[in-house]
Homo-oligomer: 380 residues x 4
């Protein structure tokens, strides 16, 4: 799809790389190599065959577009990949390749590796947002400002209290995501019907060895149990929602008639092809756009949970792109809002002016104490 008009601005190059063809192929080759290595270690296949498989994977080179064409026809990447790898292997090594595995084992393990790597990227940006917001919240904890409910002036609040609430929402969402990623980044090795047949009874041990090397959790096959994937998806959507909450508020505060805060200026960003004077809340736009797309992606993944028997028809296939897209959106939103958090321009004069205009005093209650209490919870 065209990156020119739309898709591109919404994510980061690093997150795109996690889910691109090269990464997918790299993980798939690692799966095959480590499957053979683990089987050799458990005595299921010969060590020499495992080394031959590893060597074949190491030198495997192909134009991804060609492989994609073949995968599209076959309905799965593993079929052409295994076929091509086999072509370079002798008899017993050839038979040892992909032994006991099925296409879904490859695809799910690749996805698990991508989940782990994608989360690491998000974590780095989460670690930017929290301290930046902490600092802003603390500095403005006792700054009287107008609180607003239902888009109407309500009662005074400490300006930093709103910021502390953004931070709490984002940090809690990050903690949930961490928990769900830990659960979902799990080796998949079940074979054609999820029984670990053809592994000489060593399936559990083989899977454990692979998990160790690939940096994944070990455990029984989960081919038809997609709840953990769905939980990562929902955790991402909640994170995107928490970032969207911050973006919504910043964009409202940045309205010309309000003027209490605005995004930092970035050279080349936020302009208009028709109006040179504008300073658009481009970061907020990225985050708010993400929040419109995420819920539907989650709904699709949830709809696919009742997969038929040992591998569903349609549901499993729909899940991967949706999860990848959620990571792309989360990365774009988090990157954008981290920059906003780090450079948010706050106009104390406008804050004071708007509060004075409201004419309802300046009793901000326990705002500062709540800011401190929020900071004390959910430490990063």
């Amino acid at each position: 799809m065209s990156h020119l008009l739309r898709t591109r601005p919404a994510t980061t190059p690093a997150m795109l790389a996690v889910f691109d063809d090269a990464a997918t192929l790299r993980h798939a080759l690692a799966f095959e190599a480590q499957l053979a290595a683990a089987q050799a270690a458990e005595g299921v296949i010969d060590a020499a065959d495992a080394q031959a498989v590893a060597a074949g994977c190491a030198v495997f080179a192909i134009n991804p577009a060609v492989l994609a064409d073949e995968a599209a026809l076959a309905g799965t990447l593993a079929i052409p990949l295994v076929k091509r790898l086999r072509a370079g292997l002798s008899g017993t090594a050839s038979a040892s390749l992909h032994k006991g595995a099925t296409s879904q084992d490859v695809a799910d393990t690749v996805l698990a590796c991508q989940i782990r790597e994608a989360y690491a990227l998000l974590k780095a940006d989460l670690d930017r947002v929290a301290p930046a917001l902490d600092q802003l919240a603390e500095r403005h904890a006792a700054t009287p400002s107008i609180g607003r409910t239902l888009l109407q002036d309500a009662l005074p609040i400490g300006f930093g209290l709103r910021i502390a609430q953004w931070r709490t929402g984002i940090v809690k969402a990050g903690e949930r995501l961490d928990r769900e990623v830990t659960d979902a980044a799990r080796i998949q090795l079940g074979g054609a019907a999820g029984t670990r047949a053809g592994l000489s009874g060593k399936g559990s041990a083989v899977a454990a060895r692979m998990a160790e090397v690939l940096g994944l959790a070990a455990g029984p096959p989960w081919h038809a149990n997609r709840g953990s994937i769905a939980a990562v998806a929902t955790a991402l959507a909640i994170l995107i929602g928490a970032l969207g909450k911050m973006a919504r508020d910043v964009s409202l505060l940045a309205q010309n008639t309000v003027g209490e805060a605005r995004e930092p200026a970035v050279p080349g960003r936020g302009g208009s092809s028709a109006m040179a004077h504008k300073r658009n809340p481009t970061g907020c736009q990225v985050a708010l756009s993400a929040v419109l797309r995420a819920p539907g992606l989650v709904a699709g993944i949830l709809s696919g949970l009742p997969a038929e028997e040992e591998r569903g028809l349609g549901g499993w296939q729909a899940e991967g792109p949706a999860l990848a897209e959620l990571f792309l959106l989360a990365a774009g939103s988090l990157d954008a809002m981290a920059s906003v958090a780090e450079g948010l321009e706050i106009d104390e004069a406008a804050i004071a002016r708007n509060l004075a205009t409201a004419g309802i005093g300046d009793d901000i209650g326990e705002s500062a104490a709540i800011v401190a209490e929020l900071a004390a919870r959910n430490r990063v």
Copy 2:
């Protein structure tokens, strides 16, 4: 809405009662009474006034339909409720009622109490499903049967392995729900703009006392931080999806040409107004219907996360009914599938016949070991 054609079969009377008018009013009155009691204990108001408030709440009686009309006009329950309660109170007691609180404090705390009670009902049914499925999985762990992928015969599996996977999906979903409910069932006390103004600086202590009595977690206001509510919603949808997975499989196994398993017969259920001979998978229908409705409800809640400032316009109002509906759907689905789990009729002859027809042997790999491994994890 009419219960005749559609809504009614999808839930349980007990869950309907958790979210009905009487329960809502009971929790709202408890909020007001405990708010006054806690303020008296902290010296914010006089003990006598708190007693007067408590007495007023205790004797408050009204036709809910009348109150609902007034609430519909005012846009919130708290406005007419507080007005009516005040009418029965003298001067200082009247001023002490609802002191420092806002409509959303009432509504969110009521919702937190309903979440806690609703989960308790689900937990009771979760405790029926898991052992029933454990028993079936163990009994049939080594029964060779045909495994199916993409709705086609694949390779043999132990019949109990599929059941063990159902159980794992459901139990893990229950654990996630437990975690999220514990987080979300939290007192809300922030006042009009979430600053705990008007509580003489005792807001945190007042909230903690109320939480204790109402059986909720304590903590700072979360009025504009709806992530925990969204997380309960998504956990419910994942549970509904896990139950739907079991329902999908049971309904496929119960097809006339398959015949490997079917729902227990229930007098008066599963019939047809046109075909007396039919035995419809009515329990599965309830669960599969729920799985079609839940994802969209979740999407709606996620879409509302970027609430404007101190109280959003529309998002917060949309969240409550959607969350209640998710609990209703989960209750209906869980109740139905618990009955299916407890009474599932398994036809070993049909299982053997279908496997023989497939003609691919009976190597079920490590099926029995995986069943044991799944049972060992995620103990209830």
Copy 3:
């Protein structure tokens, strides 16, 4: 579910009545009576039996809660309803009742009748909105005001141009809904498997007679073809979105710092339990809440389209409540925004002040011409 806190404010009593138990039962009885009458007219059953059925339907009286309990157990309304009606009929009349029909015929025809009646209610309110907005748009077509993009001041526009765009969105959505309702409000008569068996080859003629009397379109069975229902649902969601667009803008214009327009004051509405001075945009809140709920309901209906064979397991059952809820939301939103349109308070001084502050002149281009062009299209 409780009407106290949540469901009630979002719709109108008239729309609730379209989908309540009494209406459902009334339509179901009309189906049975007209089925018998049409069969008698076509010579399929005796005229005396048809009269006996009609008489039985006319005097049928029951506590809907009791019937709902029975329907919940049976999984369909038709089973207990037909059983109870039969109990009051003699031999041949008893056999003539519900002849050739199945539960879904009753349910779908009832739904078709409700769609027709629900739309009539919406149409009445659509006919309030369009002229009210036309008038406002025309009056303010050439009033220079600040246009805003991405929540930032952009260039001047005629104030009425924004209003004319609201009107166009709403009117076009109404036209689409009209078209889809005409298609979907269709008789369903197919019998158990959709073949019109048991009707002596007169099925098409019987259905046509029933359609005529019930005010529905005639045509072949559509039991497993739910696209027309989905199209009504999506048309409703687009209407809700168009109303939400207007509500979003009004709520932004009504912000204290903007002040260009606000909802009419309604005694008892829009207040706050904590802040007597507030004037909340309660109508906009209803509309914006609806817009958060509608997309998920649509998604659920779309997900159910691939119904299994002659009647799906779960999808069909999920569709009815979602469609009814969409009508309820549309009614609430339309009623609220019709009142806003009729009473919108526009502050020309604020409009002029905000434009002057922006300092970008007052060239409103072809605003007035576009208002006229928009009004000329999509006439009601």
Copy 4:
């Protein structure tokens, strides 16, 4: 995103090309060239300047990746595109480029062109499906087979009746899509705030000329009125659902224990990396996967309808990729099911055997007449 594992199989190369970078750039350049040409024709700019702009657009060449980077930074394609085009133009031609237009005018008009081209592709495949299904339906109209409801044997139906219902659902969905595309494929020319300022009062005429050349409908600006886009999206989802209905049924009929029909064999498709004997319903998988993804995409577009004022913050940006994805999914699904329709293998012996086993006779009612009636309606 990686095409290796997932995205690629779900669509057609032709549809990918409609939405790729080259097409996007081509349409954007056509917009700028035709904008200048139309303005020259109306006397708004000089003819020589328009020719210079056209020449500049004709020779414009750039690596799309570079332009995408710039567009990502600027937040819109038009900014870097116009800047680069201007660099090659002299004074007055430079000022005449993009005159009176804004980024959204470019983006929306490009989208309108893509909608028109994308639909033409779908139409070609729709024209394959309908006659193929007509033929099958007619041939098997009177073949007695078992009808199934709720996944249970119900009563006999003509085998072709089910096929005729598929065809009706798909054809009606195609008709709706045609209607909505005609409405949505519309020129967008409103300028920065939708007033057609800066066009010397000739905006309407300029837009009409552009529409004529670009093959779009003419009309007033619709920048903040996204209902027509949403209607195309929902029409696509209903089409995807109708195709999914056919896919669901085919996959059920193709189960090994049923065997009444199956997809045509395609060399290299439907295999398994672990089970050489399998014949997977790969076409159905594509269609059923699409049906899981489409509803959420629609929900996202519907959620964005209440765009803020003259250009929303987030909603508009989320809409384009979702609509493009819906077209991609529809193309993949339609291509797959057209092939299934053209080559569906029907096993009359299995049909007869399953019916006999059910033991409920062979009265198929008016099946053949209904097939004829369905064929007579909704002619392509």
